[in-house]
Symmetry: C2
Subunit: 249 residues, 2 copies
C-alpha cells in the first residue's frame, strides 16, 4: 500500500503534536535540564516516550530525567516495568517517597487536592535541588478543557492549566508538551508503544466531580463532527487572553 | 397567607435583578436619556416595563423613550398593542423603517448577522441624532452565555456581550439591564404583565446554530440543581477578566 494511503499511526500523531507544541510555545531551549514527572500512568509514560522520541525532529540539545513520587497509599504501581521502559528510552529514573496519607492532620480525609499539593511541592523542591530548570507534566487537552470548565462553572473564574508556567519564586518552569493531544490519541499511542501494561492508576479512583464534568463536556463537544477541533479552538482562546468583548468594556 | 410564606412574584424578581445590575454596574446615571430598542418581542418589552417600574427603587432621574425598527420582511408585528403598553408605562414610542431585505446586494441571502448589523447602525444613528446617551438592549443571561459558548467553540475567542459598552467613536453607551435574568424568568414576568400577547417573533425563526448551542448549554448546565447559579458564575468570570491562569504565564 502506498504511504499516501496509509492512516497516520498514533505514535506519529503524538510526536507531531508534541513537536508543534514545543516549537510554537518555545517550551524547550538548548541546554535545558528537564525533569519528567512520571506517575506510572499512561499520560506521563507517553510524555516520557515522546520527549525522547522527538529529539531528532526538534534539533535541540536537552537532558531528560524522570522522577516518580511514591506514596504511602499506592500499592499497585508497576515500578519495575516503568523503570525498564524508561531505560529503553535512555531516561534516568529516580523514585522519591512522600508519605501523603501520613502527613494528614488528625480527622482530615485524603483528597485529590491535598495529595497533588503535597506531590507538587516535593517535585519542585527536588527539581531545584538537583539543577533541573524545567518540569514536564503529562496533562493533555482533555485535562486542560476539564479544568477550564470546572473553574468556569464552579469557581466563576476564567482559568485553566498553563502550557508554560514560569515560576516567579523558583528558577524552574512547568511545561505541558501534551497540551494539544486528546486523551484518546494518547491511549492509542500507549497501546501501540506497549505502555499500557506498565500503567498503574490511583486507588482512590477518579475524582467524581471531574468525572461528572468529563461526561458533560463530552456531550457538549461531541455534537460536532470533530470534537477535537472544538477543544483546540477553546485552547487557542485561552492562549490569546483577549478580554476585549467580555461583559464590561 | 403571610407574606413571608409567599413565593416571590416573577415581576418582583425581574425588578430586583434589574436594580441589582443597574446599581452594581453603574448602568444608569442622573440625567441619562435612554433609548430602549423594542423589537416587539418579550425580552425588549419586559425591559421597557422594568426600566419604567424600577424608577422609585433606583432614585435616579432618567428619561425613557422607545424605538421600534420596522423592516420590509416583518408582517406579524402587533405594533398597536406594543404602542398601547408603552403608553401605559409612560414611554414615548417611535417607529423607524429600515428596508433590510431591500438593501441586500443581488444574489445575497438574508441572515441574522446582516439584519442585526443594519438595525444596529440605524439605532446608533437615531440615538446620536436625537440626543440619547444610552441605548438599552433586551439581551438576557441566556443570550450572553450562548454568545460566550458560540464564540468559544466556533471562533476560538473568549468574548461575550458587554453589560456596559462605551463606544469610542460615538457619545453613546450600550446597556443590558436584563443581564442577570434567565429567559424563563423573563417569560414568567411577561406572562404576568400580560406582555406575551403583544409580542411578535421574527419570521425567519430561530438561528439554527444558536438553537443548537442553546440545547447543548441547557444539557451542560442543567445537571446542576440550580443551573441559573452556574450561568451567573460564568457571567462573573467574564466580568472579572482575569487572565492569570490561562495557557501561558
Amino acid at each position: 500500500m502506498s504511504r499516501f494511503f496509509k492512516k497516520t499511526e498514533p505514535d506519529e500523531i503524538v510526536k507531531k503534536l508534541v513537536v508543534k507544541t514545543v516549537m510554537e510555545r518555545s517550551l524547550i531551549c538548548d541546554g535545558d535540564r528537564i525533569l519528567i514527572a512520571v506517575s506510572g500512568g499512561k499520560d506521563s509514560s507517553v510524555l516520557a516516550w515522546a520527549l525522547s522520541a522527538v529529539r531528532p525532529a526538534l534539533k535541540i540539545s536537552y537532558d531528560l530525567s524522570a522522577l516518580h513520587i511514591s506514596t504511602d497509599f499506592c500499592a499497585c504501581c508497576k515500578k519495575s516495568v516503568l523503570c525498564g521502559r524508561l531505560a529503553e528510552w535512555e531516561i534516568p529514573f529516580n523514585d522519591l517517597f512522600v508519605p501523603v496519607t501520613g502527613r494528614l492532620k488528625e480527622g482530615r480525609k485524603m483528597n485529590c487536592y491535598w495529595c497533588s499539593t503535597q506531590r507538587r511541592t516535593e517535585l519542585l523542591k527536588y527539581a531545584v535541588e538537583n539543577g533541573f530548570n524545567k518540569i514536564a507534566l503529562g496533562h493533555h487537552l482533555d485535562d486542560i478543557i476539564e479544568t477550564f470548565f470546572m473553574n468556569l462553572c464552579s469557581c466563576g473564574t476564567i482559568s485553566a492549566m498553563p502550557i508554560l508556567l514560569k515560576y516567579r519564586k523558583y528558577p524552574v518552569s512547568l511545561i505541558r508538551p501534551l497540551a494539544l493531544l486528546e486523551e484518546k490519541q494518547i491511549i492509542a499511542c500507549a497501546a501501540r508503544q506497549n505502555i499500557l501494561k506498565a500503567a498503574c492508576t490511583c486507588p482512590y479512583g477518579q475524582n467524581s466531580k471531574r468525572g461528572d464534568f468529563r461526561r458533560r463536556i463530552a456531550d457538549f463537544t461531541g455534537a460536532s463532527p470533530d470534537s477535537g477541533e472544538i477543544k483546540r479552538r477553546i485552547l487557542n482562546a485561552l492562549g490569546e487572553g483577549r478580554i476585549d468583548y467580555l461583559t464590561e468594556k
